[in-house]
Symmetry: C4
Subunit: 233 residues, 4 copies
């Protein structure tokens, strides 16, 4: 029996949430779960339809994206996951989808502005959209560079991956993460809904103002601050 059985099962279950939540068409998405003690993570095999995916199909890879266990080829986005897991020790799971509204913002190369408390309950910043990569980075180790594109954008903007758990990649689609993969999946669904609401507000009123600072702080703190009072203790 594989020493990674529980890790594969957790990864399988997270992946299966994506079509259930309406976030993926066919195979356009993947979720991964890290085991930091063992220095590996579990990820969906590439191009396998969700309705035939089994826990034993999940691939185990190390932080250089080399396969440790599994007969299938891991997701084509594996190197991006590997860079993020290696560079951000605080995250436990990553989700990548092409969910419709978040991808539409990424294609438009626009940050999703913070317009309401649905957004502020989850993060105090606009959802950042990392710019298109240089041609040299694309032609080179593309998925590896995609990871660095995310990390560099966070550093440039002074954002913490503990506080902002989602990003858009220009012309591509979103990545989300979290302390656990369940949180990363949750963030993917939240991002899609926030993207949809912002699309509607912006097309209804193109000069819609960003949320005022006092409200941003209030909503974030009631959910995440030291004196938070959202949810059960």
């Amino acid at each position: 029996m594989s020493q990674y059985q529980d890790l594969k099962q957790a990864c399988y279950e997270a992946n299966m949430q994506l079509p259930k939540l309406g976030l993926v068409l066919f195979t356009f998405g993947n979720a991964s779960v890290v085991d930091r003690d063992k220095g590996v993570f579990a990820i969906k095999p590439s191009g396998v339809p969700y309705d035939t995916l089994r826990p034993e199909d999940i691939v185990i890879v190390d932080f250089d994206a080399n396969t440790v266990e599994g007969s299938g080829r891991p997701s084509s986005d594996t190197k991006t996951h590997a860079v993020l897991f290696r560079h951000w020790p605080e995250i436990g799971g990553i989700v990548h989808t092409h969910s419709t509204y978040a991808t539409a913002w990424a294609q438009a190369q626009l940050d999703i502005p913070i317009l309401g408390t649905t957004h502020a309950d989850h993060l105090t910043a606009d959802v950042p959209c990392a710019p298109p990569m240089d041609d040299a980075m694309i032609a080179g180790n593309y998925e590896h560079q995609t990871g660095w594109q995310i990390i560099n954008e966070f550093e440039k903007r002074g954002l913490s991956p503990r506080e902002v758990e989602m990003v858009l990649l220009s012309n591509h689609a979103p990545f989300t993460w979290g302390k656990t993969v369940e949180k990363a999946v949750y963030n993917s669904a939240v991002l899609e809904e926030v993207a949809r609401m912002a699309y509607l507000s912006c097309t209804l009123r193109p000069d819609v103002p960003r949320l005022k600072q006092a409200l941003i702080q209030k909503h974030y703190e009631r959910k995440h601050g030291a004196n938070s009072y959202y949810g059960q203790r």
Copy 2:
């Protein structure tokens, strides 16, 4: 056996309608039911997913939002419900959601204009959007002030909560209410559909005219007037 069992059951059933009607994602919503004789109301516990919610999880609180019965923490919006129940003796239930189209209008800080009879069958005014709160109100007793923001806006506009059973809060989302919680739930679904139709009409024709007064009166009266002839006697 709790003296509040029926109240909890009614509150539970109203809350369970919200995901069924497509009005909430995850835990983004709550419904409450008042018992005016006992001076309490029942409300959803904070942050509990709908698919694990049970009638016995419902929390009973008084009109100061103090817990009377229940081990869980009540909804973070409890103080808003408490202010509305105390100030408006005619209402029996309240629903708060972040339904997509209604929230998009709230984020845009715009009233939903009355454009058709779907709207006029339910209220004769635009759906009011209360303005953003002062920073001092936000930093203070925020959810309590949210209740007052609604009440003050109704008084400023000369609206009656018996005739207009819904409101948008700028940058936030809608609240609806009714003589019963079933009516409050119904109003939430009607508001979302009215918000969606108005979004479509306004993006199709930005200078769309408001409904003429004669038609507003006619449709409201055939449903709610002394000589109403909609529905069964």
Copy 3:
């Protein structure tokens, strides 16, 4: 046993198609079926939810909208149906909904322009939007006048109810009809889809041209002309 049992059953089945096709929320719609030999039609009772509606609840009324059989109050739109059935002997069923996209066009007081073959397969004209009624007509016998508003608009435009089986009422919503009530239901679903496609094309390209005449004729004739070759013989 009622002599109208089959008529009630047909009316019941047509009404139950409306929520199944996603065309009504709560009770916002109704279907009727005529029996010309008996000089009556069957229609949904007013305000009865679809999930509790039974065939025996269907109301039988004559062409003056007087109840012939049934204990419930007929749909509040009954007089509109009565006027259309009396004036247009060629139609066998009528459907009224507040389907989302068709209603958005009605609220915008715009005809739905013929932009593609999905539309042309069903009618060769824009979907007509009848203008708002005079205040005197609204204050008077409103639902009766609604029927005349439709008939007058068709006469003004030189349209035949055999060729154009749908209409929008400004600020209100659509009515459709057909030789049978099944066709009227089908037309309601087609109208909603045509309305949705036209909304998308018009917001994508505000100066989108109408379909050229040669294509309008071709698509209509292949489905409805003397030498039609769509469907089975």
Copy 4:
């Protein structure tokens, strides 16, 4: 037993995927499968609802669109399929739908611009929109000319049907194809999602830039190039 039984079954299964994927309303679509050895293809009968369609209803026709086996009338679009199968020997299946967003672009007479990697994973060009036909072509052998309209547009633009497996017909709707009919069905669903994302990006930001060339190449090659690494070997 028919020598075409397997062909009919494959055609039946492909057609049944279309409503399941949300790509057709009523009978607005059809799928066909070719058997090049026998010089025939299987296609849906015209106007038969999907919920009553049976494998034995599928019609077998030759490349002149003459019926070889089957009692029903073949799809009214059969001649278009016949022209494409005859002219493009590399394709094994064709799908025609009136899917909502793709049809909205066709009605707007606009190519779908390549804006992101969801698009680039499948084709490196904008989705071409063939212009409206001349009136003479429409009045003549219309469905036959529709096939030629597609082929001529591909030749004019220098596109290969192996690389671009989808097209929009101005004022009409999309056609897709593939080496197999399963791939043609898959392409129809991908096209609808790409059309929806592009609609959202273009209405959000009308001056949205096309995808840069380096990214177009990279995403297409990782899925389709000699050194592709998407999917299982």
